[in-house]
């Protein structure tokens, strides 16, 4: 049984189980001896032990432990960790190649997307008719799990997936600044994701992804699974953000000045800056919540001087900026696609970059618009309303940058571009309805109704997921070396777009009628529209199967893609499809901006510093 002797998945799982036992057993023993101990203590320590055992078994820490012990780095092992072309096993082990890690993130995200999508189907089944199919706790658990899993997808799919894969390529680097940290940030996730998906076994949780106390202090172990997952995700995204920022700051190819950086790289730079600053605040909030549950602290317990509103502040101080962690990468992907298919330079590139930065800064000043009905201090309402509405200025500029590029362009209506148009349509609806939630008087009426549900699905699905699909269809040939089927791509787009709009547009109306979100039942006179919504939503799920079939079929036996099938100017298209393991044989020298379509000589204006895999 050779596989147990080498670091890898099998040993990782074994290590995880052993680690859980080591962590949890002392707690069990103490409980046997009559100590005042809850199952939550065992879960917390067991989980920490499981993470450590998992990472050790996986071999994720072996380079650092060797360094700490003063052993010389093993170059053979390092090369093996990087992997060589055509070796499929590197997708299933601790691999440091950013392209492998990007695909690991992408495929994990897609699996989670399908999982949470199925949960949404369960919700719509319950809501198809007034009355109840399942009990309230079950509904709440399904709703909460759908929410947090989709949030995870929205946070990691573009940044972790497309970002990891393409940022080094786009700036002309061979890898990220810290490849092992990069791999670690991915491999921290599986135990956490397993835990959150398994939360129904621990009794589920009914707070939604916001985990407000006091409910979250009283709820059962499933809630704690949520907290542990959330904190792990935070740690993973912080180290990943450090990695991105150092990579962009220090590893750009010669000539790749900041104003020649592709807009997608700029978007991720702003995004990861937000992650770096905001994430530890919510991690602290979740830690306090955990302590309130396990150690008897009183942070959010009013009976002992605590303040539940404080949790909401800490939560939204991260979680509003997190909306931009989801949206800005999608803006970046969209702006990346538009010039290529409009054959024009990106309109107002510098202003768009400044707007990204503006969004990043402003996103820290608006969090309390989620708390207008929470009972927070009154003097906070108007300033927060104003800053929230201010953020539509930079967002609008980004939107205009896309429109200005499309304007009078020679548009190629290929699949990636269709998703851009879908994005623009959805974003107008999501943006305009957001104004009503930013305005205090209208929000007081609309808060906690389906108007909110419709609004954030238009921004997150209509924005982030559309950006993700635009990027995926655009970069698929680069990743796989195969072209996707255009007909299926178009079918996917139109089907998804019609089904998505048919599902969520009526929800605005439901919200205006006062239908409450996060409740399993509703007044009988809303039955027809809810039935319509439920049917429409199930067709969204079916349309995703079209994508799945297209992706698998094209990957297996689609027509071979050339290095640059879209005739794009950015660096990732100047190497072979798929890119060689080392990305660039010789690092390129950049001599012009990335979007000079029709301005200077046609074709790539970036001169590789030598022979590359053209």
């Amino acid at each position: 049984m050779d596989r147990w002797r080498r670091p890898g998945l099998a040993r990782g799982v074994l290590g995880g189980v052993a680690g859980f036992a080591v962590g949890a057993l002392p707690i069990v023993a103490a409980a046997q001896l009559g100590a005042d101990i809850k199952p939550g203590h065992g879960l917390a320590l067991g989980y920490i032990g499981a993470q450590v055992g998992w990472l050790l078994g996986l071999g994720a820490l072996r380079f650092w432990t060797a360094w700490a012990l003063g052993r010389a780095a093993d170059p053979v092992d390092q090369a093996a960790a990087h992997g060589r072309a055509g070796d499929w096993t590197r997708y299933f082990r601790f691999t440091t190649d950013h392209k492998v890690i990007g695909l690991q993130y992408l495929i994990t995200s897609f699996v989670l997307f399908l999982t949470a999508g199925l949960l949404a189907m369960v919700l719509r089944l319950e809501l198809a008719q007034p009355g109840r199919l399942m009990d309230g706790d079950t509904y709440n658990t399904v709703m909460s799990t759908h929410g947090i899993v989709m949030i995870v997808v929205a946070l990691i799919a573009i940044v972790g997936g497309l970002g990891n894969y393409f940022v080094p390529l786009m700036i002309g680097a061979r890898d990220m600044a810290f490849p092992k940290v990069n791999a670690l940030s991915y491999w921290l996730l599986p135990p956490a994701l397993l835990l959150i998906v398994a939360n129904p076994l621990l009794g589920g949780f009914d707070t939604g992804w916001t985990a407000y106390p006091p409910l979250s202090q009283q709820a059962n172990l499933g809630q704690q699974a949520f907290i542990l997952t959330f904190i792990t995700l935070g740690v993973s995204s912080i180290i990943s953000a450090v990695n991105f920022l150092v990579t962009v700051a220090r590893m750009r190819a010669p000539g790749m000045s900041l104003t020649r950086m592709p807009i997608f790289v700029w978007a991720l730079t702003v995004t990861t800056s937000i992650v770096l600053v905001a994430t530890s605040v919510v991690a602290a909030g979740m830690t306090m919540l955990l302590f309130d549950r396990l150690l008897g602290t009183a942070f959010f317990r009013p009976s002992a001087g605590g303040d539940p509103i404080l949790f909401q502040h800490l939560f939204w101080f991260y979680s509003h900026p997190a909306v931009y962690v989801m949206a800005v990468p999608a803006f970046g992907a969209v702006l990346e696609v538009v010039p290529v298919f409009a054959r024009k330079p990106l309109f107002a590139y510098r202003l768009a970059v400044l707007s990204f930065i503006g969004i990043g800064v402003l996103s820290f000043m608006v969090w309390a618009h989620h708390m207008f009905v929470s009972g927070m201090a009154d003097y906070f309402h108007i300033p927060i309303m104003i800053t929230t509405e201010l953020i539509s200025v930079p967002t609008g500029i980004v939107f205009l940058s896309a429109l200005g590029t499309i304007w009078l362009g020679r548009i190629r209506f290929a699949t990636p571009m269709l998703w851009v148009f879908g994005f623009l349509w959805n974003f107008v609806i999501g943006g305009i309805t957001g104004v009503f939630l930013a305005d205090v008087p209208t929000d007081l009426a609309l808060s906690d109704t389906y108007f909110v549900v419709a609004h954030f699905h238009y921004t997150i699905v209509g924005g982030m997921v559309y950006g993700l699909f635009a990027g995926t269809y655009y970069w698929f040939p680069k990743i796989t070396g195969r072209l996707m089927d255009e007909r299926l791509g178009r079918a996917h787009f139109w089907w998804f777009t019609l089904a998505f709009n048919a599902t969520f547009l009526p929800m605005f109306w439901l919200g205006l009628q006062g239908m409450r979100r996060r409740v399993a039942d509703y007044p009988a006179d809303l039955a027809d529209v809810n039935l319509w919504t439920s049917v429409a939503s199930s067709t969204i799920a079916l349309s995703t199967l079209v994508f799945l079939v297209n992706a698998i079929r094209s990957w297996a036996r689609g027509p071979k893609a050339s290095a640059n099938p879209w005739r794009a100017h950015t660096l990732e298209w100047q190497v072979a499809s798929p890119p060689p393991v080392e990305n660039f044989e010789h690092l390129p020298t950049v001599t012009a901006g990335p979007y000079e379509y029709g301005v200077s000589a046609s074709g790539p204006v970036i001169r590789p510093g030598g022979a590359t895999g053209h």
């Binding site: 990220m176 180290i239 605040v281 150690l295 602290t297 001087g305 303040d307």
Partner: protein
Amino acid sequence: MATLGHAVDTAAERRMLLLGVRLFILSEVMLFGAFFTAYFVLRAQAPAWPPLPDLERPELPLVGFNTLLLLSSSVTMQWAVTRIGRGDAAGFKRGLLATLMLGTVFLAIQGYEFASNGFGISDGVFGSTFYTLTSFHGAHVLGGLLLMGVLANRARLGLVTREHHTAVEGVSYYWHFVDVVWVVLFLTVYVL
């Protein structure tokens, strides 16, 4: 491109690692910022501090002494960095060991203080904020000591040299940060 584990620290790798450490410290600033925010919000809402009359705040002299210990450990750490920058491996080891010792004594005194305090973590918001802040800081001190233990081990094997000591600089940044957090913590939680 790997930074750790290479035989020589190139200038580019040094710059990358140190930038990474600085950015990481920024996220740590926000972490402690959130705990301090909770502290100030809850304290501002309390009728008195400590809210319950039978709780007593820790005595200052011992903690003041402890503060001096941690401050001087920053000095010895910086001295160690300077020595290795000049190629003085023996001086570096002395500086590092002094820092390790000062940090260990700091933790020991804090443990003693925890044991002799007349209140616990579950004594309302006062105990909650006090022990959460101080033990999160203490955990960071412990983390720093572990890193220094690793450095000491590598120095023993002759692996820390003038050409190869970026990790020492990184740990020193972190240690100074932990020190600054303590000064803020001392001034707000103990003195104010």
